[in-house]
Amino acid sequence: MEFIFVAGIFLGGIIATQFLANIQPVQINPVLAAELSGYGITEITELVPAQLFSWSNLFTAKGLIMIVLGGFLVGFGTRYAGGCTSGHAIMGLSTLQLPSLIATCCFMIGGFLMANFILPLILSL
């Protein structure tokens, strides 16, 4: 059942992109755009930046860290924490569970550390 559900998410991604696409270019905060252009990321056209996440980047240091290690951290962390954004942040908080509030705070701390302090080092590689 989970497999059928995620297959649906995958198909939904295809349908939204093929038939419901946004004709406007992706809008992002100009401060973020300026920061990313400093790392050579200038083609802001899709939801996932192709200049970072592409098959040709997969075997570079940056690609291995972002595509392979990043995915590993998501999977390992989700299981270790006992849930992810939907399980802890959305369902856990909406049922007022303290463990989920703790987990959500830790998600945010991890994300803030990565985005502001570690990711700039990775993007500089």
Binding site: F10, V48, F72, G82, S94, S100, G111, L119
Partner: protein
């Protein structure tokens, strides 16, 4: 929410899943294959919303962690409100599943995994711009290399299972 398809090794499976999820489906009903189409329909809708709301945008995740946009806070915040109202309605009116079963909510217990695992997940979330569900939608949008991220995430869950006994909880 987790649904259990096979009824055979249920006790062990359920025991482990109880630690992981807010809700566990203890249903052991057997259905014909086409009953699964409803999960496909919900997944499809979820995937379309993921893309159209830009939840799966790497840029939106970066903006969230840099406090450069309200976008993700608005989405997660409204989802929490809708979730809370839904749970309240289910409890208040004792709403059953479509097969007439009771909807159960299990309280979660604290363990250190929520801290260590939470921090690890947060690091991965900010670097990939995706949590587990959105990975599937990202692949659907045409970012095919995210398949590797997905396989790596599955490997991560496997390694966690392997190391579980030796990790602090």
């Amino acid at each position: 929410m987790v649904k259990i398809a096979d009824a055979t090794p249920i006790s062990k499976d359920l025991e482990i899943r109880m630690m992981d999820t807010v809700c566990v489906n203890e249903s052991q009903l057997e259905h014909k294959w086409y009953h699964n189409l409803k999960y496909l329909a919900v997944g499809l809708l979820f995937g379309i919303i993921f893309v159209k709301s830009e939840v799966i945008s790497w840029y939106r995740i970066q903006e969230m962690f840099r406090l450069q946009s309200f976008h993700m806070y608005g989405i997660i915040g409204s989802a929490v409100v809708v979730g809370a109202i839904s749970v309240w309605l289910i409890k208040r009116f004792n709403i059953k599943t479509i097969y007439g079963e009771q909807v159960m909510f299990h309280p979660k217990t604290f363990n250190k995994g929520q801290i260590f695992g939470g921090l690890i997940f947060g690091l991965g979330w900010a670097v990939t711009g995706a949590c587990p569900g959105p990975l599937f939608a990202q692949i659907g949008t045409g970012a095919s290399v995210i398949l590797i991220t997905l396989l790596s995430a599955i490997a991560g869950t496997w390694v966690y299972g392997y190391l579980r006994e030796r990790l602090p909880h």
